[in-house]
Each structure stands twice: as C-alpha cells, then as structure tokens.
Amino acid sequence: MSDFTSGFWNWYVALITVASIAGCAILLWSQSRYKVRLDQDGQPAKTTGHVWDEDLTELNTPMPRWWMGLFYLTIVFGVIYLVLFPGLGSYAGKLGWASTSAYKAELKQADTDFGPLFARYASQDLKAVAADPQAHAIGERMFLNYCAQCHGSDARGNKGYPNLTDADWLHGGAPETIKLTIMAGRVGQMPPMGAALGSDKDIEGVAHYVRNLSGLTADPVKVAFGKAKFGTCAACHGPEGKGNPMLGAPNLADKIWLYGGSADTIMETIRKGRTNTMPAFGEFLGEAKVHVLAAYVWSLSNPVPPKPVDGKVAAK
C-alpha cells in the first residue's frame, strides 16, 4: 500500500528512476568516443596533454570493451528488474512480489514442514505428550520463547507472575485447564476491599488472620479480630480461605503468595485490590502448538516418572 494519499509522488519517483537510467545510457553512449590531439606524425596522441608536477602525464589508454559491455548489462538488468519487481513508484511488478506475501509464504512453508509433527501430538492425550521426550524439548524451547519473559526461564514466576512449578494453581492445574488458560488467557481480579471491611484496624486484622491461615507468625489478638471480618472474603476465597479455582481466587492457606506474604503487602492487596492478566495465546500459536506447550507446563509440577531402562526402573 502506498504511504502517500496523492499519486504525485509515485510519478515523481518513477520519473526520476526512468530518467536516471536513460541518463546513464546516454552518458555511456556519448562518452565512448573521445576527441584527441594528433601528434606531429598524424597519429592520435597517447596522452591527454595534461601534465602535473612537471612530468606526471595523463594517458588516454582505452578501457577494455567488455568493461563497457558490463555497464550496458547493468542497465539491462535494471530494466528487467523494474519490470518484474515493484520499484517504479506504485507499480507492483509483473511477478507480483511483495514482502508481506513472501512472509506469508514462509509461514505457510513452516506450517507444512512442522505441521505434521504438531498434528501427531495434537491427537494424543496431554499426559502422553508430557511423557514424550521430543515433545518435552519442543515445549521447553517454546516456553523459553513465549512464556519465560514473565514466568522466568525456570518457570518459577515472579512478583505478580505465578510460579508454574508448584502444584498450586489459581485456575486449576488439570492438563486441559492449563491448555484452556494458555489458549484463552485469564483475567484475575481482586476488588479493593478496604471500604467493605471498614477501618484500618479491620484490614490489619484480616491480614493477620490470613497469615495465620498459612501458618505464618501473626498477632493472636489481631487474628481473632480478623477472623470475624473474614466472612466478606469467604465469598470468593471460601470459608476456610482455601480459594476457588472457578473464580481464580487464590488459596490463602498455603505459603504461596503471588504479590508477597508480609502483613504490609497483604494489607495493600486488600485495600487496593489486584488485577492481573494472562494474555491469550490461542490465536497467535494455534491449538496444536499450545497442546505441546500445555503438556510441558503441566509436566513442570508433575514430573514424569523415569522410564524403564533395560527392563528395570532406573533408580532415582
């Protein structure tokens, strides 16, 4: 597509190009003959008559003819090129070549090259794919390419980005659920609860209660105070704070914290709420690739038992 709204610049560029090529041809033709002085004996002089530094003379030795042939060849090449490929203004060229279609052709080629491999895995159960060493290697490379930016090269996550190697899952850890998470993405939302809970004292109490649920050190008085207020939270996190994967509500009774487990951080989470997005990869990668990737991610928290070697189970 042209970057200009008016056709003027296309013509401007095309005209300059054509005029330049014609100019080169005229220059070559007009300069292939040269007027020289004649010597005393009537022969054309061997020098141009220019002398520098007393004795440095300029010879007019002719160039080889094939050299000029090469110059004309470049013109022929240029003309053929401009007919076949886009180069003259907005003219698309006889071959219809474009960088976008070349990119699409390459993508298509890659799909035909690797499609059958992914299709073979796509027809298998996710747990079976996870046990396949080749699929595991492919999954690892894809993970490093597409997932490691947020979840880390070791998949152990970071503040705000879940650790994928523990058995704790916000939205469920079944292989099919993981696949759905990668395909469609997730939005995790914890609304700001400060106003609903009441005073700072209430919020602090709930924070200590939640720490207590995980077995972390907490002030018993504040814990008792917070326990009474926890009913507001139980709607999502459950009466025992065990969370609800259907809502993406985290389990508060384990030691795993997405944003940090200090009393201050928990209070900040309660007051301001948290919003977290896992982008959808389904359209970008396609289901077949996500299938292999999901199997890899599942295998991170479900290590495949070692395969029997020579009839015996390899010792751990």
Binding site: R33, K35, M63, R65, A148, S153, K159
Partner: protein, 468 residues
C-alpha cells in the same frame, strides 16, 4: 589543405588475443610446481577423511567449520580475520622482496590459465598453429578443434566447481546427488557459478583479469621499491639491439653502428609473455612477474653463446649501480622487509598460541530480564539466569556449575550439565543468596568446569539484583 589537428578515437578497445608461446626453463618448471602443489591441495583436500567425517568441511548449515581435529564456530570468526591478515602480510613481505611472485607462480588466475593453455596447446597446437587456426575460415577441422577445446575446458571447470562445493557439502553426499540428479538448488548454482567463473577467467579473460579487475595487482606496486627483485631487461648490456639473422649484416654497417648489444631482437620474450608486453620497455604494470621471458631469453643466449641473464631477476638499484648478487642480498634486510617480517612473525605466533590455548567451552550468561529478583519463603533472594553453554570439543562432556562473589550465594538445584559433542544448550539456573537488606546490584561470577579436565573452565561475570 589544412592538416586536421584532432581525431575522434574510441575510449573502449577490443581485446587483442594473446597467444603465449610455450617455454621450458627454470621458472616454467617452478610455475608447474606451483600448479601441481596448489591443485593437489585444492582437488585433494576434500577427499581426506578424519575421524569418520570429511577432514576439511565448512558446514554452513550447522555453522561448524571442521579442519582436521579442529572445530571452529561462528564465535571463532576472529581466526578467519587473523588468517586473512597473515595472508595479507605474507603478500606484502613477498612483494617487497621479490615483486609479484604470487601472481606469477601461485595465483589461481595464473595456475588455471596455465592449465587451460596446456589443454589449448594439446588440441590446437603451438602458438603459430593457433594463430593460423584463428585466422582461417570456419572449416570442419576448426569447428572440431574448437569444440574439443571448450569441452575439455568445461570439464575441468565443472570439476573445479564440484570440488569447491565439496568444501561445504560432504563430497560423498555431493557425488550421490550428482549421480541421482538430486543436487540442491544452491549446490547446483555454486557448482555452475564457480565452474563458469573458472571457464570464463582461465579460458577467455586471462590477462584481462590481472590488468583490469585484480585489486592486488594494483596495490602491489606500492610495495615495490628500488631494492625489490623484479623481472628486468639489462638495457646496458642489450642495447643497441642486433636484429639477428633477419637483417643483413651490411645494414648495420650502413647505419654506422659501431657497438652492438647482446639483444638479437628475436622477440621471443614478447611471444612468451602471457600479458602481451615487451619487457624491454622496462617495468610495466601489466607484468605479473612470471619470468617466462627470462626462460625464453636464456634459451636464446645459449644458442648465440652469450651468458644468461640479459633478462633476469634484478633490482632497479642493482642495474643502475652494476651490483652483483651479494649487494642485492645485503639490501634484502632493509627496514621495510624487517618490519613486515616482524609483524608477520608476531601475528603467526599470536594466532597459533591463541588456537593452542583455546578452551573448548563457551559460556554466555543472560540474566532473566523480566524480573529483578524474587523473595523466597524463608526471606532469601533468588535470581534466575540462562547459561548458554557451548561444548566445542567433539566428545560429550559433563560440566559442573558454580557461583561466587557474594556471601552465601549458591546455585539452587541444577549444577551438573551434560552436553553432547559439538553442541550448545541453554540452561536455566536459579541462584540464591542471603541478601536481606543488601538492596542493589552485586557482581557475581559463574564458573563452568569440565568434570574430566579442570583446565577446561570458563568464568563469566553477572549481576545479582536484590530488590530494595
């Protein structure tokens, strides 16, 4: 009638065919030695085997360059640069000492031209027969000879192209592909391209390449000085010329020539010259220093019972001052030559030392950019790195990873990694440190050591970040 003072000439002239006469002698033998030596190496090297693979193979697809026991990776490109610099200084040195000997005896352009000329002589005959053949109209004999010559040239050229591609695709594979007409598009292109270049350059272009295309030919003249050995005609001894048997003796008398030089003006030196110059006009830029005229003139001097060396390797100073071999040799050790030798020696020494001390392991540490550092359950700080390990030896190896530079810093789980021979692998590594309250960036260093050989070790620095 007025005499015209100007004329219009063409700035581009057609090439004049050169028919070099065959010559035998010391320098012709040397040149053939150059042909044999370079071509046995070029055509033979790809056939050598080493540890079950081709000994010399530049595997562009796998980006590995095999040279016998040595495997070079793209990261070792510096050695190619080093090799080219060594070659350049070698050329400088040789040129300063003895002019364009590379051009005359070892350059592929000369070597293949020599080969193609040999074929031409075998089919079309000697110089005079070739001139006659080209001048006569097209007869069945002429067509047959020309076809035979070009067929032979093309055969040699295609074999050359095939050998060239054999340095990049294993020759055995290449042979099967050629036999079954399944040559890849690029392989076919390069076989044909290199073959066509050989055919065109050695068959058709010949001295035109040296005169108009070759940059080395041009800048070598800037390395000449008055003490450089070049092919020269001894003007003092040769002039005035005595036009041998072709001019009657009484004409000399008529011209009142009292003294005659040793040159009998037989033009043998011109007839053997592959670039078509007359060496008696002095040093010219076309001269490739092949010394064919030296061989020719010495042969003629034998016949007329005069000493060798009317045309010989001599320096400008030697000719001007009448120096002998001793003085010429003494001037060899002039500052320019010594400087070139010193630089060349240093470069070769540095290259070989660096190659010998090369560690067959490459390590690149990439810190996870997405995160600063995470806090573990027990309040320690964890950073994640990706270690790009490359085992450049040809055997599988196990490496031990360790880290130091901060109190209590350690690798959490994985610290032993096995890599196949000549392979690369990215390993995610978790590093943990007791870093509470030490907010900021800290220098740490990874050490990767081969388990079977502690000398194979690489240390790489990295940053350990503790959130404030």
């Amino acid at each position: 009638m007025t005499v015209p003072k100007e004329a219009v000439v063409r700035m581009y002239a057609a090439r004049e065919e050169i028919y070099p006469r065959e010559i035998k002698g010391r320098y012709a033998t040397l040149r053939w030695a150059g042909v044999w030596l370079t071509q046995i190496v070029f055509y033979g090297l790809p056939w050598l085997r080493w540890n079950g693979r081709q000994a010399v193979l530049f595997d562009l697809g796998a980006r590995k360059f095999h040279l016998f026991g040595l495997v070079l990776w793209p990261q070792d490109f510096i050695y190619l640069a080093g090799l080219l610099i060594v070659c350049a200084y070698g050329l400088f040195l040789v040129t300063a000492v003895a002019g364009r000997v590379w051009c005359g005896f070892a350059c592929p352009q000369t070597v293949y031209t020599e080969l193609f000329l040999w074929i031409e002589r075998k089919i079309e005959g000697a110089r005079s027969a070739r001139i006659r053949l080209d001048r006569q109209p097209w007869t069945f004999e002429k067509i047959a000879k020309k076809c035979a010559k070009h067929a032979a040239w093309l055969a040699v050229a295609l074999w050359t192209g095939f050998t060239f591609v054999g340095y990049f695709t294993p020759l055995q594979t290449l042979m099967h592909e050629v036999a079954s007409f399944s040559l890849g598009a690029w392989e076919a292109f390069w076989v044909l391209f290199y073959g066509f270049a050989t055919y065109g350059n050695a068959g058709w272009m010949r001295e035109q390449v040296c005169k108009y295309m070759c940059p080395y030919a041009r800048f070598q003249s800037s390395m000449f000085d008055r003490d450089t050995l070049v092919v020269t005609y001894d003007r003092k001894r040769g002039e005035p010329r005595r036009p041998g048997a072709r001019v009657a003796g009484d004409k000399l008398v008529a011209k009142a020539v009292t003294k005659v030089g040793d040159c009998i003006d037989c033009t043998m030196c011109v007839q053997v010259c592959p670039t078509g110059i007359d060496i008696r006009q002095g040093l010219q830029y076309e001269c490739i220093g092949c010394a064919a005229c030296v061989d020719a003139c010495n042969g003629v001097m034998d016949k007329v019972h005069k000493p060798h060396g009317l045309i010989r390797y001599a320096t400008e100073n030697a000719l001007a001052n009448g120096w002998g071999t001793r003085e010429v040799k003494r001037r060899l050790l002039r500052p320019k030559v010594l400087a070139y030798t010193a630089v060349l020696g240093l470069l070769i020494l540095a290259m070989t030392t660096s190659l010998a001390l090369r560690t067959p392991l490459k390590v690149d540490v990439i810190r996870d950019r997405g995160s600063m550092g995470r806090e573990t359950e027990d309040g320690q700080i964890e950073n994640v790195y990706r270690l790009q390990l490359m085992n450049t030896s040809e055997d599988a190896r196990t490496f031990r990873l360790s880290v130091d530079g901060m109190p209590g810093v350690r690798i959490v789980d994985l610290d032993v990694v096995t890599l196949d021979g000549a392979s690369a692998r990215a390993v995610p590594v978790r590093v943990r440190g007791d870093a509470a309250g030490m907010g900021g960036s800290h220098r740490i260093a990874f050490t990767v050591t081969a388990q079977d050989d502690p000398a194979v070790a690489v240390r790489e620095e990295a940053a350990f970040i503790v959130p404030r």
